[in-house]
Symmetry: none
Subunit: 207 residues, 4 copies
DNA sequence: TATGAATGAGTCTTCATTCAT
DNA sequence: CATGAATGAAGACTCATTCAT
């Protein structure tokens, strides 16, 4: 019984993930999930409060990890270990992110591209906003620790930098870039970021 | 009659734009458009085939312009006038885009953020894909015209560069950045792009 | 067309009234109303916002009249024309109420006995509460105009008197008492009320 | 086991009473009862046939007492001890009722206000009907024992008198009138009833 | 006795679209 | 060109109850 239940629950989750992935949250129906799980629609409600709950159940572990990573980032900033404009820390972070992506592709796909109509419809934007805050704090710290740098970068630019990060992840997910390729491509991005931001931080005496 | 018809049509379009902007394509109902246009729902179908058609009618002029711009870009490429890694052409292009954005905010908003459920739901991605093609061609040309440059940049990176362009536009629209601010911020982006891509194109002898 | 619509609307209202009367608001389904009106369920929603609206549409004219009567009563009180413990005013009021009941039987039935689950589920209680307020004001006025009367009657008693009024109406409706019988019976109630309340208002020197 | 069983049963009853009191019969779900009793829904069905049975189990002791009181009343009537229009018997009865109410508030609340959807939905009306029968018999007896009284009171009036009794109880329950207040207020009601009915029974030579 | 699991009939409601006039 | 009217397919969700174990 206990076993059976777990199986059914797992089966629902599996089917739901498939359906959500195929049609997106909004266009997936409880009926279809039920039918493809070979149970009744109402039985789903014995396992999950509602459609939103079912979706979140699938997606929340990954969501939590992202949130925790953000919190960690905030703490790191406070400790003064800044990666903006620093090659090695950026590289390290890239590796971490790549690993995370590689092990959470399915969920990230749901979160980024299939959540319209759900409670996390705006997850990416919210993430970018929060990430922007972190970046802005980093800049403030840099201002004091390395006063010769130009840190007068607009919040909008930073926002776009964060957006870029998020969107690279999105592209990786969308085009299902392999782990190897991610690592390969990351070099390009690193170079691009490093020289781009470096130039920016002293761009007053350039060009 | 002819006049009347035109007025009604215009009225529908105006109302529809408002509704789509407020609620998005999916959540906008034909009824609400009709009611706020002071006509009957069914009469809308005398002017527009269906909801999707109505939406496209609003959005297609801007869509066409974007497409034409892309086509123009393709031709320019063929002529060898490359802006990748060139400061002034990039700057010129920025100015053009900024002007375009400033005069097409409403439509771009609809296209980028309110089109879920419509046929152009994936417009941004498609745009990026096509833009990527153009970029890749540019690279090929560069390869022959300036053989000393490193043009072995991955298609994925280019794709992301295009994505970045598109997403900057998206951010501008989303946060309703003023014309003045666009111009101001563009300097940052230019510097970032220029030095980022420059470094990349000869990154084999760096770091 | 206009005619047709009116007919359908009327037909829905007629059927709905029948169903509500038979099964009560809660247990009446939109389906059954639709089926018995020979239209589709969804078509009802072209005429009425929802089930509650449909119910209120039937019942609100009568509801309004009751509310207006209460307002009128409040004004009368202010003018000092008190019927508590006065035979003729009580009698006049009875006649008025009897006439009202006789012409609003169906609606009163719905309001009093069939409204469970609707927004006017507690109408009778609310009515009694409000009526009690009016009575209490009457008492206060009496206190000053006829100081030799005992007006120290508990609010709870007044509340019950109002409840009695309301419940007599309810009984009349429930047992479908004819106009003639109402008039006949009213004499009994008048006597009962008159002597009951009279005794009460000087009951300190009694028994 | 036996002990355990009793405990479980008691626990279900206790929870159910709470739920019914809070939400009413109709809106209380077996699930919520089970959950709050820390057992499974289906286990409830080992103790009670269905939702209705569960409700009745809670409410029937009080229901029986009321029924027995009614039966007692019928016998009393037969013995000629009539309280209609008699001060002291009425008073005695009041006291009895007050005591009963005070010790059965919870159940009376359920019976009178929370039974919609259950089999005793119309308990009050049925009670009134039966009580009316008793009153009518009283009247008949009075007619022979005290022929000088006017006993030509309409059944409808008597019905309303019974309704009044029942509704006073309802009001007491609804507004949770304290024992002390009940006793205090009862004087008003007694006076009101006594003089009201007295006048009625000889109202032919009045006014 | 207790439980886990499942069910099916039913609820209100939404909306784009069609069609006759 | 305009309208009134109607529709059908679909949607999420609820809950008392049953049954095998």
């Amino acid at each position: 019984m206990q076993v059976k239940k777990r199986e059914v629950r797992a089966s629902i989750l599996k089917t739901a993930r498939k359906e959500f992935t195929t049609f997106g949250f909004q266009k997936t129906t409880m009926r279809s999930i039920a039918k493809k799980s070979a149970i009744t629609t109402s039985n789903i409600y014995n396992y999950f409060k509602d459609k939103g709950d079912l979706f979140m159940e699938i997606v929340s572990p990954t969501l939590s990890k992202i949130m925790m990573a953000l919190e960690k980032l905030e703490d790191v900033d406070a400790s003064g270990d800044i990666n903006l404009g620093n090659y090695q820390p950026m590289k390290d972070q890239f590796i971490e992110v790549i690993n995370f992506i590689d092990t959470h592709r399915q969920d990230l796909n749901l979160i980024l591209f299939k959540s319209y109509g759900s409670s996390i419809q705006n997850f990416k934007e919210n993430f970018i906003d929060r990430y922007t805050e972190i970046f802005m704090k980093q800049l403030k710290i840099l201002k004091s620790t390395r006063p010769n740098l130009n840190t007068e970068i607009s919040r909008f630019f930073i926002h776009n930098l964060c957006s870029l990060y998020a969107n690279i992840v999105a592209e990786v997910i969308m085009h299902n870039i392999s782990f190897e390729n991610m690592n390969e491509y990351s070099k390009e991005f690193l170079t691009f970021f490093y020289y781009g931001t470096s130039a920016l931080m002293r761009y007053d005496d350039k060009i």
